[in-house]
Symmetry: C2
Subunit: 109 residues, 2 copies
């Protein structure tokens, strides 16, 4: 149990800690540890999100994702740009769940 | 182990699943299960992020947070607005880690 959390972290706190830890793990692999280089982004995608990236038939998809996420066009992804990636994927999953016939849509189950 | 992940979910996949599950858990408490009402937002903050919310001396902080997050002013938070809250908190934690003298800043440890 972490000393930061007297009764252990909540699911949301664990999730925020994971986002920081995962970013730091991949951003720290080469050069500037504050951002993901193109190579680090690809390593992240092929390791952490392989179930998504392996389904992309078009080899240009990862290049286009990186370009779209790199809002300030500095050739790498800072933490804020990384969060946009996670947020985009979470929104896509959420939309899929909401449109599923078994989800109950906007009604309570 | 989930059948969606042949070798189990990665830390990033678990995190995305948690974001969806936590939102659905609190949004589903009353009325529209696709958004957090003010009451659901307060329950979420006081349960999942109590270590943050209990340190707010000003009782108006939660009201102002809700107003600021509610980009379309519909009186509740949809999943995208909820993700902005999580992203904002993650960025605040990341900035704190990066400014810590023991973090190594932009250098590799």
């Amino acid at each position: 149990m972490s000393s930061k959390y007297p009764v252990g972290p909540t699911e949301t706190e664990r999730c925020i800690e994971s986002l920081l830890a995962v970013f730091q793990r991949y951003a720290g692999r080469d050069g500037n540890a504050c951002s993901l280089s193109k190579k680090e982004f690809l390593t992240f995608m092929n390791t952490e999100l392989a179930s998504f990236s392996k389904n992309q038939k078009d080899p240009g998809v990862m290049d286009r994702m990186m370009k779209k996420l790199d809002m300030n066009n500095d050739g790498c992804l800072d933490f804020s740009e990384f969060l946009n990636l996670i947020g985009g994927l979470a929104q896509a999953c959420h939309a899929q769940v909401m449109s599923s016939p078994t989800s109950g849509g906007s009604h309570k189950p």
